[in-house]
């Protein structure tokens, strides 16, 4: 799964630590999410969407090949 987490976070001037605090997760988890190393659960994805005030589909998208 691809995501725009890094871009959206940077646009708000937040550090990974700031985002981790808002999501109540570790900084390592934010880092792994941004690098696409970890796909969030649905509840965490909804939380991310709420923090960025955007629908989930504007933040996460399937990687090419995921939909086949």
């Amino acid at each position: 799964m691809e995501n725009r987490l890094k871009e959206l976070r940077a646009a708000r001037g937040w550090s990974q630590g700031d985002l981790a605090e808002k999501l109540d997760v570790s900084r390592q988890t934010v880092n792994s999410l941004e690098r696409g190393k970890y796909d969030p659960s649905l509840p965490l994805a909804f939380k991310i969407a709420a923090v960025f005030e955007r629908p989930i589909e504007q933040i996460f998208s399937p990687e090419k090949g995921d939909m086949t």
Binding site: D24, S26, Q28, L33, Y38, P40
Partner: protein, 132 residues
């Protein structure tokens, strides 16, 4: 790291080190006293005494596990699964070595459990990094 997780990790680290310190003290005390004891209730109690601080460490970990975020939980579970495989393979290997009379590890088996905990801790670090 969120303040809540940071606080939980700090508490877990303190409790873990205290439990492990207590474990070593109880273990060596029990081994020393046991040398002068005949088989019986006291010797059984001495043999089981080191389990008490280990139970404290387990309680501490499960409380920390509850406070982890979802990725930390997954990393811990993945590391536990790999540790289980390593533990099973090590136990079978040692069993064969003993059975075939190559080497008898019986007196060193007391370190097997703590060694697996160390393996699991290292794997958590390797799989999840410093924050896991």
């Amino acid at each position: 790291m969120s303040e809540r997780i940071k606080k939980a990790k700090r508490r877990y680290t303190i409790e873990l080190f205290a439990s492990m310190g207590l474990y070593l003290v109880v273990l060596f005390a029990a081994l020393t006293i046991a040398k002068t004891q005949e088989p019986g209730v006291l010797l059984t109690a001495l043999a089981l005494a080191p389990l008490a601080p280990l139970c404290l460490a387990c309680f501490s970990f499960f409380r920390f596990y509850r406070d982890m975020d979802e990725m930390q939980k997954r990393v811990s579970a993945d590391a536990a699964a790999i540790t289980l495989v390593i533990g099973i393979m090590a136990a079978i290997t040692l069993g064969f070595l003993k059975r075939f009379g190559v080497f008898d590890f019986e007196h060193d088996m007391i370190w097997f459990g703590p060694l697996l905990i160390v393996v699991w801790g290292v794997l958590r670090f390797v799989l999840g990094g410093r924050d896991c």
